[in-house]
Structure formats: C-alpha cells, structure tokens
C-alpha cells in the first residue's frame, strides 16, 4: 500500500477537481485518491492493532518471558506447540474455559431475555412512562464499568454492604442466617453471580432500547391481524415480532457474546486479586500470565489469547455474514 501512495499524491495534485465534473466514470480508474484517504487510518491500524494479532500467534509458539525483553538478551526461543499442549492437558485451563463459556452464556442469555422483555414492556407502556423508565435505564448503561463494579462490591460487602444487611434483616426461616458476614467474593458461584448481575445491569438497557426501536418499526396492522386470527400475545411474539426482528436479534446476540467474552474490569475489581484461580475467566487468565505471574509468561499468555481470539473470530464470522447480507459491506 505505501508504495502506491507516493505517485498517487502527485497525480492527485495535478487534476484535483475536474474529473468528477466532466464524467463520473474516471473515478473508477483514478485509484490514488481513496487509497491516499484511507492510508493514515490503515497504517495506524496495521501498526497498533493488526501487527500485534500476528505477533500474538508467533509469541504463543515461543518461550517468551520477561527476560527476553531485557536489553542484550536473545529473542524468544521457538517452542513449538508446547504451550498449547500443556494448556490442553491442564485441568485448570479447562475449568477456566468452561467457566468462561458458562458465565458468558448466562450473561448473554439473561441480558437478551430481560432486554427483550423490557423492550416489549416499554412498547406497551404509554410514552411518558416508558420515557422515564428509559431515562433510568440510561443511567445503568452509562455508568463506567469501573464505577459499576465498585458499587456492586460495596453493595455486597460483608458486614456493611446493603445486600448483606438486608438479607440479615429478613427472617431466618426464609433466607437462612449468617448473611451479615457472608463473603460473596471468595467462591466462584457467588462471585460469578454478582459478576453476571453487574454485566446484565449494564447491558440490558442497550438490548431493550434496540428492541424498542425495532418494535416501533413493525407495522401495527400485523398485530391487529394476528389478534383477529385469535393469536395470543405469546404467539404474536413468535409469529410476528420475532421473524420481523430476526436480523436485529442476531446482531444483538453476536455483539453481546463478544462483549461478554472479554469482560475484565468488573472481574478485576470484584475478585480484587489473582490468588484464586477458581474465579478466573479467560481474559483474566491472559492478564495474569502476562502481568501478574512471576516471572511473566508471555508465551503462555499469548497461547490463551489465541484460544480466546479464535472463539471471538468464530462469532465474528457470523457477524460478518449478517453484515454482508444487510449490505453493510457494499
């Protein structure tokens, strides 16, 4: 690309304006201008984001550690597929992978169902009321991940957190006792429950507002017709709403999966340490290998990153299919 840029600049300077006026067709032949325009963005993307993806694959096949970053040290040594081999035979990794998949599935599932229900609800409520509810949801949506995680940690804090205090105030026959001192952040089940709550809290508004926008685009007659045919609300949803909004749902699903697979900040605050491997998710594991383990194991971290990227790319392929079908690439 960079080679084509140089002559392009000169030719562009020679006849800048006339071409589009006389006939639009020559634009097709006049390659330089568009390449000149995308060049800065493309070069930056290539250096900052594309090259590291290539590097990541390469590092995962080497024994790259902090030592190799020191001056006057040899580069990382070729290591073959040793990292992948040890990953695949490591029950710890499989547990983390399984947790990631389960937690992500729950996050996405709950977010989609809750978001859709809320979208339907907003559609049914009168405008003034749904406007207020939507405004409230906007607050949840806009809260930075870090602030949200800190608030939830404070809500579920042993001894003084509001949730613990409230659960302790409830009669023991209903919820059991010992809630006041209960530490939610030690065991995977309770920690992941809070993590899922934070993520759902932050992401359902986006789904709800998107679904609401979609619902408004469906002609009202379709529902009246369905009602005349004796369809229940349930049937109307599956036979009218869902087919009409299928592309939207597919897109929301893909975006949610990708956003929830990468969750890091929330876990970083909620778990608040790297000591308990039971509460790791893939992204957390990558960071731990690269920046918290001593010595840092860049090779192993990259291998995990490759696994995660492959998962993401599989979902992205589906996303691309939707986009291409909708003509977004045209």
């Amino acid at each position: 690309m960079p080679q084509t840029v140089e002559p392009a600049a000169e030719r562009e300077a020679e006849r800048p304006v006339r071409a589009p006026v006389t006939e639009p067709a020559p634009r097709r032949r006049k390659f330089p201008t568009p390449y000149l325009l995308i060049a800065p963005a493309l070069i930056l993307l290539a250096i900052v984001l594309l090259w590291p993806i290539v590097q990541m694959v390469w590092y995962s096949l080497t024994s790259f550690t902090t030592r190799n970053l020191l001056p006057n040290q040899p580069g990382p040594a070729w290591n073959g597929f040793a990292h992948y081999q040890s990953l695949l035979t490591d029950p710890e990794f499989w547990a983390i992978l399984r947790n990631t998949v389960v937690v992500c599935t729950l996050m996405v599932g709950i977010t989609m169902v809750l978001g859709t229900l809320v979208g339907l609800l907003l559609h049914k409520l009168p405008n003034w009321f749904s406007g207020i509810v939507a405004l409230g949801m906007m607050l949840a949506w806009a809260t930075p991940a870090l602030s949200a995680s800190l608030v939830f940690r404070w809500l579920f804090l042993p001894e003084r957190g509001l949730v613990n205090v409230a659960l302790d105030g409830l009669p023991d026959w209903l919820v059991g006792d010992g809630w006041l001192e209960y530490n939610w952040f030690l065991e995977p089940l309770s920690l992941f429950s809070i993590l899922i709550t934070v993520i759902v809290w932050q992401s359902f508004p986006f789904v709800a507002v998107s679904v609401l926008a979609g619902l408004k685009s469906i002609p009202h007659e379709l529902y009246e017709a369905a009602r005349m045919d004796g369809a229940s609300a349930w049937k109307a949803f599956w036979n009218v709403t869902f087919p009409m909004l299928r592309p939207l749902f597919a897109l929301l699903l893909v975006l949610q999966i990708i956003w929830d697979l990468r969750v890091f900040t929330q876990l970083y605050i909620l778990a608040n340490s790297f000591q308990n491997k039971d509460v790791y998710l893939l992204s957390y594991y990558i960071y731990q290998q690269g920046f918290s383990a001593s010595p840092a194991n860049y090779g192993m971290g990259s291998a995990i990153a490759v696994v995660m990227t492959v998962m993401i790319l599989a979902v992205t392929a589906y996303y691309l299919r939707i986009m291409i079908r909708q003509g977004e690439t045209r």
Partner: protein
Amino acid sequence: MTATDDTTRPAPRERATGSAEAGGAGRSGRARRRGTTRRLRSVPLYLAGVAVFLFSVFPVYWMVITALKPVGEIFTRDQTVFPRTPTLEHFDRVLNGQLIPGVNFWQFLGNSLFVTVAAVAMGAFLSLLAAVAVARFRFRLRTTFIILLMVIQMVPMEAMIISIFINFRQLSDVSGMQLLGNLSGLLIVYTAVSLPITIMMLRGFVAAVPKELEEAAAIDGAGPWTVFWRVLMPLVAPGLVAASIFAFITAWNEFIVALTFLGRSTDNYTLPLTLSYYFGRFGTEWGPIMAASTLLTIPVMLFFLFVQRRMVSGLTMGAVKG
C-alpha cells in the same frame, strides 16, 4: 417478510369492527367497564416498569448517596436509604486531597481529559478521511477494508493486551521515544481503537450528503479542500459529534491498556486507573471511593443523554430497518 403478506389481509376486517365499536359508544356501560378492566390489566405493566426503573437506578443512587454520607453512616450495619446528615466531605477529600500520595485529582482529570480528547480529535480526523474514501469512491480494496474494520472492531483488547504491550515496548526501543509509562502510548492506542466504529458511523453520514452539492461547489471553482471544509464538513458535523462522543466514552472508560501501559508511573494515571489504585490501597474508604466513582460517571452520563438515540442506531447499524 412473508409474515407481511399473510397477515395484512385480515386488517380491513379489523378496521371495520373497530369503527362498529366506536359507533356503538352510546351503550357506554359495557364500554366503560371494559375500559376499567383494561386499566386494571395494565397495572402489572406499570409495576413492572417501576421495578425496571428501580433496578436500573438503584446502584447509581446508592453510589451517589454513599458519597454524600458522613463516615459514621457508612461504617455501620445500620445502612439507611437516605443520608441523615448529607455531607460533601468525601467530594472535598477527593477533589482537594491527594488520592495517590503527591498527586491530586485535578492532575488525573487532566491526564484523562488530555488523552481522551486528543485521541478523539485525531481519530475523528483520520476517520473522516477514510469515511470519505469508503462512501465516495469505489476502489479495489474497499470491501476488504470494510471487512477488516469489522473484524478489528471485534477482536478485544483483552486478548491482545500482551502482544500490544510488547509491541509498544519494541516500538519504544526502535523509535527511541518512551511510549510506555506515559500518555503517548495510550494516546496512540485509543486513537487506533476509535477508528473502526467511527469510520463505520461516519460513512453513512458522508454517503447521505448529495454528491451534486460537492460537484456544484467544484464547478464554482472550489478546490478539493474547500469542498471538504465548506460543503462536506458542515453536513457531516452532527455525525462527527455523535461518533466522537462515542469514542470519547470508550476512551474515558478504558482500563486494561492504561493498567498495563502506565505501570507504576502514578503521575500519568488516568481517572479509572487512579480509582482502581485507590481502591487497592484504601479498600475500606467507601465514602471517597464512591465520590470518585460518581465524578468518573458524570461526564459519561451527560454525553450519553446527548447521543443516546444515535448510539443505538450506530451500533446496530441498519438492523432495525429489517
């Protein structure tokens, strides 16, 4: 689409019955009773709406309220939903004290503002150029470029964090510039990260500007730069604002890159990093932590209200149209 064909047909029938009902409004007893039933039936809907509202708002409310409570009301089992004696002491401590020894809040705010605003400005400029290319020209690598953007947008920073870190260390060595431990590396990464979504959002706005306008200006003797600044820019500006705010929010909230790039260089910390650092060292000081969280949230909230609608359409890009 087939649903449309099958189900629109009975619609006229429905309209006919509807008017018949309206005509018989004189027998109001039954109609009124039906209205009451309908209203009663919508009560659960309203309750559900209230529940959703409370669920959404409560954590934010709790954050702000905790920030306004005196220490005595935070360090107790007796948590109240309203502060008994609201105080600004925590905000005062965050704004005027030192969150990290030797550095005060304003410096961190300055770091955050500088890196986000500069990244957004550079990103907006580069994106606009690319968006013009994609929207206005047909060229061989165009589709490849668009697909590349979509893929890059999806591969998360969390997966690439190790290789990006090493990449910037090597770039520092090669160029002789210090890119880690200060804001320059962050600036470059945030600019690059903002590009894909900004280009995709701007593309639609550029395409919506009628080509004839530019051609008319060109006939009147305007050079390409004049056309760009005087014709295209004013029309694309709303999209540029929306995309920029979107990029601003992303960069403002960004955490993991700042965490790895800045390391122990606390002078250069951005606000999220400061907050996390403070939480790590003074994990029990919930008053200041919540006050700082509130301060971190406010700019995002304001921007959010501003671009809310465009945000949805920008992210789902045309899917709503069906």
